[in-house]
């Protein structure tokens, strides 16, 4: 379903070029849940952003291949990307505050992916609101109506994170990219989210790319794992392989 080949990302905004990601190759098969782990600064978020088609900046250069089925995400036009984002790819960013629009109510932003396809699906305002409230409830809110009406700055860190997850899930995308989606959540809510993602994966076959430094969560959710270090993939395997018998010293350090 998703194939990443020879991905390289380089920054040119300082005197010396800085390589953030290099030689990254992996495949996410239909309905798979792939975890990406690795130390801070190892290139996890950059890889995710590239897949999400969000690295259209002039201070960086990217090369390689990212195919979602038969669409090349790295070299597509903005219009193609726009129609894929939200519809086929859901994204949960690492910085929930920064990635939400401060002047729009949370409910409106949760409905975004649905709004893009509103005409096509023949939805009225009430349909969208109903779906948004239901999705908000599914990520563990017991007062989804209030959250729907709130502005991002009126939510706590964990609430923003969950609102973003709701926005990414509302249309049950084909591919879901989650970058550290549970960092601000207590264990009870973490469990709710993991169960929700598992259910979505089982029921709709959504493929999930799950970036986390929390190896407990990765173990509980993912089927396969890749380990990144200094922009490179240093190890990959099934969850049992990586956790049971890590080959790289670095992976061992992350686990213990």
């Amino acid at each position: 379903m998703l194939t990443v080949k020879d991905l390289k990302i380089e920054f040119f905004d300082h005197e010396l070029p800085e390589v953030a990601v290099e030689d990254v190759d992996f495949v996410l098969e239909d309905g798979d849940i792939l975890g990406i782990v690795g130390e801070s600064g190892s290139g996890k978020s950059m890889t995710a952003m590239a897949i999400a088609g969000l690295l259209n900046r002039k201070d960086l250069q990217k090369s390689g291949n990212i195919m979602l089925d038969d669409v090349d995400l790295l070299n597509s036009s903005r219009a193609t990307l726009r129609s894929i984002q939200g519809k086929e790819i859901g994204i949960v960013f690492q910085d929930p505050l920064n990635s939400m629009n401060p002047v729009l109510r949370v409910g409106y932003q949760v409905e975004e992916a649905m709004r893009i396809r509103r005409k096509e699906l023949n939805l009225c305002k009430e349909d969208m609101k109903k779906a948004a409230i239901e999705t908000l409830a599914s990520v563990g809110f017991d007062d989804p109506e209030r959250i729907y009406r709130s502005y991002p700055h009126e939510l706590s860190g964990g609430q923003r994170q969950r609102a973003q997850i709701a926005a990414a899930l509302i249309m049950k995308p084909k591919l879901l990219i989650c970058d550290e989606p549970t960092t601000a959540l207590d264990v009870t809510v973490q469990k709710t989210i993991i169960d929700l993602l598992k259910k979505l994966n089982e029921e709709t076959g959504t493929g999930i790319l799950f970036i986390s430094h929390d190896l407990g969560v990765v173990k509980a959710l993912c089927k396969k794992v890749i380990v990144m270090r200094n922009g490179l993939v240093v190890e990959e395997g099934t969850v049992d392989e990586i956790f049971g018998n890590p080959k790289e010293e670095y992976t061992r350090q992350l686990i213990y």
């Binding site: 905004d13 801070s40 860190g157 609430q159 207590d186 430094h213 992350l254």
Partner: protein, 236 residues
């Protein structure tokens, strides 16, 4: 009896046009102690932290606090994106202690070592850093002002285990060597258990349970607390 570096008596705060906030807060932190604040997402932990730091003006009650450093949960929003990390660091030093400015480079270098950041981050802007790097910049900034008490709002939740351990060690070291008191907010119960001596449990804006760490973990009185501490689904 040791000195109290921060004390709240009957503190109350409610957000305008809302019923959310914190109520009847009575807590204190002794000099050189590490106190934990635990509670579910949305219960009011950051709100309370902002009240203590004076970022939110309390409606009623008494609040006394000595010189304070603050590590924000949303440090992305707290760091000026237009300035380089070096500029941000120097600004803290200038604001705090002009006399230290000539030694700024040395102070900064030592601080970078402490939070295990490479010197190359200095000429980057916050948005050019990874999440974990940015978090460590935020921690360094809070520490550069030499506070008596540090309010740390989820300071390690964006960090991988190896860096997490370093930061925890650093906080422990500062606590021992500089007698720095810490109010530590986290949902990571393992970390709270290792670090804190005393814990307050917050629910719907109110303290519902408090006690020594051992007591809270071994004999929690509230069902709410028990749920909060139950991470068994991650270990099985």
């Amino acid at each position: 009896m040791s000195n109290i570096v921060c004390e709240l008596k009957n503190v109350q705060f409610t957000y305008p046009k809302s019923d959310k906030g914190v109520k009847d807060i009575n807590i204190y932190v002794n000099e050189g102690s590490i106190v934990g604040l635990l509670g579910e997402s949305g219960c009011g932990k950051s709100t309370l932290a902002k009240c203590i730091a004076g970022l939110l003006k309390v409606d009623s009650g008494e609040l006394n606090c000595q010189k304070l450093g603050y590590i924000f949960q949303d440090n992305y929003a707290a760091l000026n994106p237009k300035k380089t990390v070096e500029w941000l660091f120097k600004e803290v030093i200038r604001y705090n202690d002009k006399e230290a400015l000539p030694k700024a480079d040395l102070i900064i270098k030592e601080m970078l070592d402490e939070v295990e950041l490479d010197e190359t981050v200095l000429n980057h802007r916050p948005n050019e850093l990874s999440g974990g790097q940015r978090q460590r910049v935020g921690i360094a900034m809070a520490l550069l002002s030499n506070p008596k008490i540090l309010i740390a709002d989820e300071p390690v939740s964006a960090l991988d285990v190896t860096v997490q351990k370093q930061v925890i060690k650093l906080l422990q070291k500062l606590n021992k060597e500089k007698n720095l008191a810490i109010l530590f907010i986290s949902h990571d119960i393992k970390v709270v258990r290792d670090l804190c001596g005393y814990i307050y449990i917050l629910k719907d804006g109110k303290i519902v349970e408090e006690g020594d760490t051992e007591k809270i973990f071994d004999r929690p009185e509230e069902e709410y607390t028990r749920n909060l501490l139950d991470s068994s689904f991650l270990t099985k």
